[in-house]
Amino acid sequence: MWKYISKRLAQGLIVLLIVSSLGFIIFQFLGDPVTAMAGQYATQAELAEVRHALGLDQPIYIQYFNFINNAVHGNFGMSYMARLPAAEIVFQRLPASIELALAAEVIAIFFGVTFGVLVAAFPRSAFSKFIAFGALFGVSLPSFAVGISLILVFAVIFPILPPLGRGELVELPWGWQTGFLTLDGLKHLILPAFTLGMLQLSLLFRLTRSGMQEALRSDYIRTARAKGLGHISVLFKHALRNVLIPVVTIIGLQFGQLIGFSIVTESIFQWPGTGNLLLAAIFDSDFPIIASYIILIATLVVLLNTIVDITYAFLNPRIRYD
């Protein structure tokens, strides 16, 4: 067990090291921060001054050492555009992204699992056919198309929900600005959260349905029914419990995908999160921001995957390397 865990942790560290080296390469070889900062018409002396200020006049190995040293201390250099520490800017935007991802995940799990159970239990009802048809659209619609359609229907044709921004926020004591506590904030959350959650909702629905279909045919369900247990109790307590393990795994493994689509969702709804920040940084060639974002996301993904794998190994002792 411990051998597996330490192997898994080592693998995660190797991935992080590779990603951070990529981050350094981005700094080193892409874009020209000096002209970006000093302007196109700067003199040689001005260029040299900026280069020195950024530490770009030192040998590569010293720059690499500085980069790794700084990265470990959470310092990824100054944003070329905002002239503020890049990591600080990214962290400032993080609460918005986390709240959106959380809301999307809750929607996906609640509707995906509930629909999956219901459709498996009542496969012939009109509701089930409708949901199964909807799931086909759910996996066939790019999330930007979902987002735009939602805006068109719920903000333009029937203007009942706000399409842009986060709305009214409340600042929590530790500096976290939340939209969960005001009605306006929650209203602003609905459309983007559904957009981001749609793909995962469809995936979780399909997974739960097929798992439930298999479970409902099994002997222990027949036994439970024979004992005279209620329909609801059998469905949710006996069958669903065994289906949830792969569901939880998929949620962990799909995290990277969720981050990717959060970039799209944030861009459509002007959500002031990290995804939107990344897009702006891409168009400004603001490489410290891009590198901070990549390293932050990589750390999150690796951490989550490692946790999922280790939890899974505890739950199912047959899973091992080799």
Partner: protein, 300 residues
């Protein structure tokens, strides 16, 4: 000889019958054939060449479809912001989306099957390292990797898009191929072929590959749809195809700013084509999966 030919024909005939009985798969195939035809012959069908700057007149911008008030010939589905005929731009855009889709599936399929064949056949540390790399790439997801990759280079080059998606797109082909190889490798006919003295190459390509093809077909059908969606998403974000040669996703991105003015036609038509392509591919993939693995039918 003739007997075998007849038998094979009747098997194909049965397959055709099963296909025709599957109404959704037939509908999907039909839609795909029509869209592919339109994309292939876009220059002959399109009323206007949207890449020819001299043919575009900016004073024709944002004309609604012909049946709406203010719409007029020759702009059947209206025009976009730059005065390009929407129908023509769509025909050319579908072409680009299909080209990216096919090229990416070919590239990542080629890389993936090669790696899968090698790792499955060789095993050992090559296998372990490649699969760990694959796991790591998958945990970041193809979507995220392609976005970051293109974001760094931000050059609007169509071949860069193909490369960016293939960068991690090969993994699922490799996994499928590898598991097929692993299950086939121990079969008696493979051992037999080795004993007779067939070379590794011959065993790999004559005996293993043909038996691993059918699960790959399902992956191809699904992946094709996924790649087309991903390309449109990247172009929607402005980091995909060049702005002068819009794909379907970029058309939707350009129309996005006008939905508050209720100019739905800018996004509805390209969106409908995009969704039709992906849904058709998914329907075909569902049918293929049932054909390849009949047990899956009960599982779904």
């Amino acid at each position: 000889m003739t007997n075998i030919a007849v038998k094979r024909n009747s098997q194909n005939y049965k397959l055709l019958l099963r296909f025709l009985n599957h109404r959704l798969a037939v509908a999907g195939a039909l839609v795909l054939v029509i869209i592919t035809f339109c994309a292939l012959f876009a220059p002959l069908i399109a009323p206007q060449n949207p890449y020819d700057l001299t043919a575009i007149d900016i004073s024709n911008s944002l004309i609604p479809p012909i049946w709406e008030e203010g719409g007029h010939a020759p702009f059947l589905l209206g025009t976009d912001v730059q005065g390009r005929d929407i129908l023509s731009t769509m025909l050319y855009g579908t072409r680009i989306s299909m080209f990216v889709g096919i090229s990416t599936v070919l590239l990542s399929g080629f890389i993936g099957t090669t790696i899968g064949l090698l790792t499955g056949y060789l095993g050992g540390w090559v296998d372990m390292v490649m699969m760990r790399i694959g796991d790591s790439l998958l945990s970041f997801s193809t979507t995220l990797i392609a976005m970051l990759f293109l974001g760094l280079f931000n050059s609007g080059n169509i071949f860069l898009v193909i490369f960016a998606i293939s960068f991690s797109g090969w993994v699922q082909y490799a996994r499928t191929m590898r598991s097929s190889v692993l299950s086939v490798r121990e079969e008696d006919y493979v051992t037999g072929a080795r004993v007779i003295g067939a070379s590794h190459m011959r065993v790999a390509f004559r005996h293993i590959v043909p038996n691993a093809i059918s699960p790959l077909l399902v992956i191809i059908a699904i992946d094709f749809g996924v790649v087309i969606m991903l390309e449109s998403t990247l172009s929607f974000l402005g980091i995909g195809v060049p702005i002068t040669e819009p794909s379907l996703g970029m058309m939707i991105a350009q129309g996005k700013d006008y939905i508050y003015a209720n100019m739905w036609y800018l996004i509805l038509f390209p969106g409908a084509v995009l969704i039709s392509i992906v849904i058709s591919l998914n329907l075909l993939a569902d049918w293929l999966r049932d054909e390849v693995d009949p047990r899956a039918k009960n599982r779904r």
